[in-house]
Point group: C2
Chain length 127, copies 2
């Protein structure tokens, strides 16, 4: 499996864990470091795995059911770092929408690990 394919597989693992509310899979995917960073839509930036893990725990406890249809995945690899931009098309119990996401991965001996996730809601266009 080439780098691009491995990174895209890691990206799919992320959304699979998100959809399944699987804290173990989410924890396995992330780099447990102070340099990890995460921005959920409308949130400020969370710095470090401690704060990030707490956010996933809270989201998984309180959130509604979400289904992700991921489109427009674009991957780039530079040395041991990769970034993926994609659109999260979200189907939810009440209201869905589209989130523009940027995910950054770092190559570890065993796998690519997520070190940055930044998601932001795409505003609906005025007609």
């Amino acid at each position: 499996m080439g780098d691009d394919e491995a990174v895209l597989a890691a990206n799919r693992t992320f959304y699979g864990a998100f959809e399944a509310r699987d804290m173990d899979a989410m924890s396995d995917l992330w780099e447990h470091s102070d340099r990890a960073a995460c921005v959920h839509p409308g949130w400020g930036s969370l710095a470090g795995w401690g704060a990030i893990s707490a956010s996933w725990f809270a989201l998984f406890q309180n959130g509604e059911n979400l289904q992700f249809i991921i489109t427009n995945e674009r991957v780039a690899v530079e040395g041991d770092v990769a970034w993926v931009s994609c659109d999260e098309n979200i189907l939810a119990d009440e209201v869905g929408g589209t989130v523009a996401a940027m995910n950054v991965f770092v190559r570890h001996p065993d796998r690519w690990r997520l070190v940055v996730h930044h998601g932001s809601s795409v505003a609906e266009r005025r007609r």
Copy 2:
């Protein structure tokens, strides 16, 4: 100058160009590549320097005067890639606000160049 300092200097160059509406400085800073990506608050993801440069051109033509106070800069370097998270505290003619930003830079022979900018508005907390 160490890597961290050089990357933070590039990050400051970005906000200096943004504030000054300096298209030449913005163009010099960005990597002119298909893998470059940019998300402005509320926008979808722009892929490639062509689309990104057009967005800056439009923003600089139509935008109001903005002043940026950058706080909580956190930098990480892995090989030839670096990422910076920061808060953009924006003072504007009408209404300001806070944008959570993630900027990714790649080391080029001459300097660190911006390859990803993702900014998203931080929602005001309900009281």
